[in-house]
C-alpha cells in the first residue's frame, strides 16, 4: 500500500461525497420490484368464470422442498362448483416461515393456480399468523395478515411498499 494508492482511494471516496445517494427511502418511497420477483403466493381464479383454478391435486405440496404446503381436497358439488373439475382444495395452507420462495410449487401446478407474487412485507408477531390459508392468498387479497389487520384497525386501505410490473402468470392480481 503506497502513498499513491492511498491518494487514489481517498480521491475515489471524495468523488462519492458529491454524488447523489442511490438509497431508496423505502417505507416512504415505494420500491420498484422486478417482474419476476418471487414473493408471497397467490391462488388464482379463472377470470371469466370466477372459479378457483386449484383442483387440490397436492402436486405443489409434493414438489415443495421444505414441505411447507398442506392441501386437503374435497369433491366438488356439481351444481355449485368451487373449481372446474372433480375436486377442489378444501384446505390450502402455506407456512410462510418455512417457505424458501423457490417457486417449485408454481412450476409443479398443472392448472397454474398457485403463483408467487410480489408481496414481501410478511413480518408478523405470532407463529400461527405465518400460516397462510386460502383466504389470505386468493386473488383480491392485498397485503400480509399484519398489514390487513392494521389497515382494518385504522380503517384505511392496505399500503404496499412496492410497485410491480405486469406479469403474465399473475392474471387477475391487482396491486
Amino acid at each position: 500500500m503506497s502513498v499513491i494508492d492511498i491518494a487514489k482511494g481517498m480521491g475515489l471516496t471524495l468523488g462519492y461525497l458529491f454524488k447523489r445517494p442511490v438509497t431508496v427511502q423505502y417505507p416512504r418511497d415505494k420500491i420498484v420490484m422486478q417482474a419476476r420477483f418471487r414473493g408471497r403466493h397467490h391462488l388464482l381464479r379463472h377470470p371469466d368464470t370466477d372459479l378457483e383454478k386449484c383442483i387440490g391435486c397436492s402436486l405443489c405440496a409434493a414438489a415443495c422442498p421444505t414441505y411447507c404446503i398442506y392441501v386437503e381436497a374435497a369433491e366438488n358439488d356439481p351444481d355449485d362448483p368451487v373449481s372446474p373439475g372433480e375436486r377442489y382444495a378444501k384446505i390450502y395452507e402455506i407456512n410462510m416461515l418455512r417457505c424458501i420462495f423457490c417457486g417449485f410449487c408454481e412450476e409443479a401446478c398443472p392448472t397454474g393456480a398457485v403463483v408467487l407474487g410480489h408481496e414481501f412485507e410478511l413480518a408478523d408477531f405470532k407463529y400461527e399468523d405465518f400460516v397462510y390459508r386460502k383466504e389470505d392468498m386468493l386473488v383480491g387479497t392485498k397485503g400480509s395478515k399484519w398489514q390487513r389487520r392494521e389497515a382494518e384497525a385504522k380503517d384505511k386501505d392496505v399500503r404496499l411498499g412496492f410497485n410491480a410490473d405486469h406479469r403474465a402468470e399473475l392474471e387477475g392480481v391487482d396491486y
Partner: protein, 339 residues
C-alpha cells in the same frame, strides 16, 4: 501572560466541558452523515429536520438501554474506566489557546495558560489509555483484555512518533507554551525549516490519528476481529462515555495539530488586505482548522481499511518513528548551522 481569577477559570472549564460535549453530540451525527455520503447513501435523515435531532434520540436511547454488567467483572473499575477516559479527554483540551489574551469579552480564551502546555496535553492524552486498559481488564473477558492490551501497545508506540515530531516545533519556537508557539508562527521563521517542519507535520498527523484510535489505526475496537475490543462488555451509557472520550480526543488532536503547525487561532495574514483584522478573529480560525482535521479523520475512516496488528507495529516503529526522528534531526541541524 495574564491570569484570570480562580472562579472565572472554573466557569470557563465548565463552559468548555458543555461546549465539547455538545460538539461531540453533533460530531457523531455529522460523521454518520458524511460517512453515508462517502458510501453513496444518506446518513441519518429521519429524526428531526434532516436528521439533526439524532444525537438527542441517541442520548435517550443509550441512557434507557439495559446496563449489563458481566458477573465476574470488577464492577468498581468497570464503572470507573470510562470515567477516566472522559475526564482525561476533557481535561486535555483546557490547555488549547483559542485566541490572544483578553480576546474573549475581555477574558482569556483558554482555561489554563501553561508554560508546559505541550507536555500537559501529552500527559493527559496518554493517561486516557488507562481508561481503555482498565476497562478491558475489569470486564474479565479475553476479547476485551486483548483489545485493551493492543491499545496500550499501540499508544505507546505512536506516542514516541508524536513526541519526536513535536520536537521540531519546540526547537523552532523555543517554548513549550502553546500560545507562544502560535504567536511565533513557526513557518515564518525561515524557509530553510520548511522541509523538517513538513515532515514533522505529516508524522504528527499520522501518529495523532493512531493516538486517538481512529481508522486506519482503530485496532482497540476492532469489531471484526475482537468483537469490539476493550468495549466488548460495555453497554448503554458506559459505552456512550467511551464513544464520547474518543470523539473529544479526536477534537483535542485536531486542535493540537492546528495549534502546533497551522497557527492555531491566527488566520492567514494575506486576508487582512481584504477584510482588516480578519486573521485575528478569535476562535473562528481555530474551529475552522479543527473542522478541516475532523473532516480528514472522517474521510480517512470512509476510505482506508484497518491495519493488521503487525502492520501497525511495523509502520509505527519503522516509518513514523524514523521519519519523526529525521524531522527533528533536520530541524536541529538547520537551526544549528543555517540560521
Amino acid at each position: 501572560m495574564t491570569h484570570d481569577p480562580l472562579w472565572v477559570t472554573f466557569i470557563k472549564a465548565l463552559v468548555l466541558c458543555v461546549v465539547l460535549l455538545g460538539a461531540f453530540a453533533y460530531m457523531t451525527v455529522i460523521e454518520r452523515k458524511l460517512l453515508g455520503r462517502f458510501q453513496h447513501r444518506y446518513g441519518p435523515n429521519l429524526t428531526g429536520p434532516g436528521g439533526w435531532l439524532q444525537p438527542i434520540a441517541d442520548a435517550i436511547k443509550t441512557i434507557f438501554k439495559e446496563d449489563l454488567v458481566v458477573t465476574a467483572a470488577d464492577k468498581f473499575v468497570l464503572v470507573l474506566a470510562p470515567a477516566i477516559s472522559i475526564v482525561f479527554a476533557l481535561s486535555a483540551f483546557g490547555a488549547i489557546p483559542a485566541g490572544p489574551a483578553g480576546s474573549l469579552f475581555g477574558l482569556n480564551p483558554w482555561v489554563m495558560d501553561l508554560d508546559i502546555g505541550i507536555l500537559y496535553i501529552f500527559a493527559a492524552t496518554s493517561l486516557g489509555v488507562y481508561g481503555i486498559f482498565l476497562g478491558g481488564w475489569a470486564a474479565n473477558s479475553k476479547y476485551a483484555l486483548l483489545g485493551s492490551l493492543r491499545s496500550s501497545a499501540q499508544i505507546i508506540s505512536y506516542e514516541l512518533g508524536l513526541g519526536l515530531s513535536v520536537l521540531a516545533v519546540i526547537m523552532v519556537a523555543g517554548t513549550l507554551n502553546l500560545r507562544e508557539i502560535v504567536e511565533t508562527g513557526i513557518w515564518s521563521v525561515s524557509p530553510w525549516l520548511w522541509p523538517g517542519l513538513a515532515l514533522a507535520f505529516v508524522t504528527f498527523v499520522i501518529s495523532g490519528t493512531a493516538e486517538v484510535n481512529r481508522t486506519p489505526f482503530d485496532l482497540p475496537e476492532a469489531e471484526q476481529e475482537l468483537v469490539a475490543g476493550y468495549l466488548t462488555e460495555y453497554s448503554s451509557i458506559k459505552w456512550a462515555l467511551y464513544q464520547m472520550a474518543e470523539y473529544v480526543n479526536m477534537m483535542t488532536a485536531a486542535a493540537f495539530i492546528s495549534t502546533l503547525f497551522l497557527g492555531g487561532y491566527r488566520g492567514p495574514a494575506f486576508l487582512d488586505a481584504i477584510i482588516p483584522g480578519v486573521s485575528g478573529w478569535p476562535i473562528i480560525w481555530l474551529v475552522l482548522k479543527m473542522a478541516i482535521f475532523m473532516f480528514l479523520f472522517i474521510w480517512l475512516k470512509a476510505t482506508l481499511p484497518r491495519l493488521r496488528y503487525d502492520q501497525l507495529m511495523r509502520f509505527g516503529w519503522l516509518y513514523v518513528f524514523e521519519f519523526a526522528l529525521l524531522a527533528a534531526l533536520v530541524t536541529g541541524a538547520v537551526i544549528a548551522y543555517v540560521i
